[in-house]
Amino acid sequence: MIKRIKVGMASCGIAAGAGEVLELLQEMAGDNKVVEVGCIGHCYAEPLVEVETDSGSYIYENVQAKEKDLQKLLEVEDFSRFQPHPPRVEKERELITSLAGKIVPTSLEEYRAHQGYDGLERAKEMEPEEIVEEVKKSKLRGRGGGGFPAGLKWSFLLAKESENKVLICNADEGDPGAFMDRTLMESLPHQVLEGMLIGAKATGARQLFIYCRAEYPLAVKNLNIAIEQIEKEGLNIIDGEPVEVKVKEGAGAFVCGEETALIHSLEGKRGTPRFRPPYPTDYGFHGYPSAINNVESFANIPLIVRDGGEKFAETGTENSTGTKLFALAGDLKYSGLVEVPMGISIGEVVYDIGGADPGSVKAVQIGGPSGGCIPAEHFDTPIDYDSLTSLGAIMGSGGLIVIGNNRCMVETARYFLEFTTRESCGKCTFCRIGTKRMLETLERITGGVGSPEDVELLGDLGQKIIHGSLCGLGQTAPNPVLSTLKYFNNEYLAHVEEGYCAAMECKALVDVFIDRDTCIECGQCIKNCPVDCISEDYVIDNEVCTRCNSCIEVCPVDAIARVAKGGEVSVGN
């Protein structure tokens, strides 16, 4: 007998069509209860529906909003059953995400039924110093990327005497390709709040903010519902007085992930960073001592207080304890969100968990625009703060993009620089102009007019931007370029010396060619060309062609391909 049916309704599920599935299921389910849950992290199999029965639970993958399919599901038939692949089950360690996708995110009852707010109850019985000590023992380091010890930061705020102290949750997850924080807020809003309330008790903060990206409407919604619930239940009463918790929506500026910029934005101003010191724990929101921690850091706190810091530190490595969430995407089979113990190797994540084909992977990009590309030969490197930094990447917030052999690394570097150039707030000259010059140089190289001096210039500029910038954005902006220069120098040189892009990605270095031996003269390419550059006898005028790939996409026999400019022609193999 069915107890209830759970539909994964986090952003990724909705994007895959879970909303339609939910609607139809509700119509068809009769007396069976259909509820919305969060994300279990297996994005590639979305939409996911779990049917709880007396005799166990069954998860169905790729569920479509079709009556026939849903009927089978309601009869708990054996079809389209979801089974996570065994290497992932073996390597994953779900500590902070153990409830994600399993409970109704906005149900306080369900969260409490799974030890939720036990940590807070325990914290309320403790002295602030004891909590801070427990967090120090856990050796938890900031999950936003910097890796600053969380316990130490809290001890600074605790030591301050002020009429008001502020604790801020940094939920301005701006890295393109990262969605760890979003998942936590959407699927486990109460866990994030519990971490913050424990923080309030530990530091004496009485004003709590969650600074969330406006692009995450569902996260904002779930957090607000959860806040209302805890206020109603009085869970936000610390030392006899209610603590104010507010969600503030950001307005789209990557630099606001930097703490002083974030504070300016919270105050309603332009989100530009300022010189530190004074650090926010001395002079923060409206001048009050403030501490800022990342969403994932806060989500770890309830576990630390509930089970003890020493127990927490058993997972992971000596200097990087606990687990880390990664958003896996790119050229791999199983994309999604994964929680792994610190110290796991990059290869285990990419090949075993991600299911990427070892022969086809060139590199991973870790840490987004602030991070770097690590080549496949270094995949035995353990994932911890210090090892990644020594390779020229950073832990970052947890975006992990797998890059296949068929991608151009110069273009990848250019892409990140384009992002940081756009997002540079303009305050520091080296960041504002330096990233722009770097981008122009990269554009020359991908545009086929670069010189070997340009490659040298990139290395030189990179160092100067790092040293001449005030905040993390500028200090890390050159990383994608510097790491690709280090590990993929041959690709840069091939571009500038031979005018050759092995990945056939850089437009200026390729022609589009129709192989007349394979061509069946169906006329599709001619019809679909937006610039009419294909003649009636199927010859492409490469002077006019914009390399838009329209003809390649429509060709039914794969007779058209990008080829190296002026090089030898071979198509279809």
Binding site: P176, F254, G268, D331
Partner: protein, 149 residues
């Protein structure tokens, strides 16, 4: 706008967000009005508006197309997606067409990386796109519009 929102300067961004939500963009007149309400120089409000990418200064189309250019989408071909849309709609990134039907914008990340490449139209996400799928989506919206008018 409620009174208590005006009093606190830190609500400036929030007020601008609700203005944009209501009107779809921030007009010159709105900037002047809000500056007055907050007792701030116009230039300061303009400065905040221009700083954040969320705020638009031109009216958007009826259907707002966002092309995800997050890392996962980019390496799988979001540039091509944007080009195809530009060819199809005759507008570039950041523009609205003459009829005010479609507007086109590339955005940092829609967070649906496993469905790359993705676009969203008025918030509805379309994933795993190729050229054929993409053009069909646009055609469907045009059809819907023609049937409605």
């Amino acid at each position: 706008m409620s009174k208590d929102m005006v009093l606190e300067k830190s609500n400036l961004i929030k007020v601008l967000q609700s203005e944009q939500k209501k009107e779809g963009y921030i007009s010159d007149a709105a900037i002047e009005r809000i500056a007055k309400e907050f007792d701030l120089p116009v230039v300061e409000v303009e400065g905040v508006v221009s700083f954040y990418t969320q705020f638009k200064r031109v009216p958007p189309g009826k259907y707002q197309i966002m092309v995800c250019d997050g890392t996962a989408c980019h390496i799988i071909g979001s540039t091509l997606i944007l080009n195809w849309l530009t060819d199809e709609l005759g507008i570039k990134d950041g523009e609205t067409d003459e009829e005010g039907l479609f507007s086109l914008e590339s955005v940092a990340c829609l967070g649906c990386c496993s469905l790359a490449p993705v676009i969203s139209i008025n918030g509805k996400v379309y994933g795993k796109l190729d050229r054929k799928k993409l053009l069909k989506i646009v055609a469907d919206y045009r059809k819907k519009e023609a049937a409605g008018s």
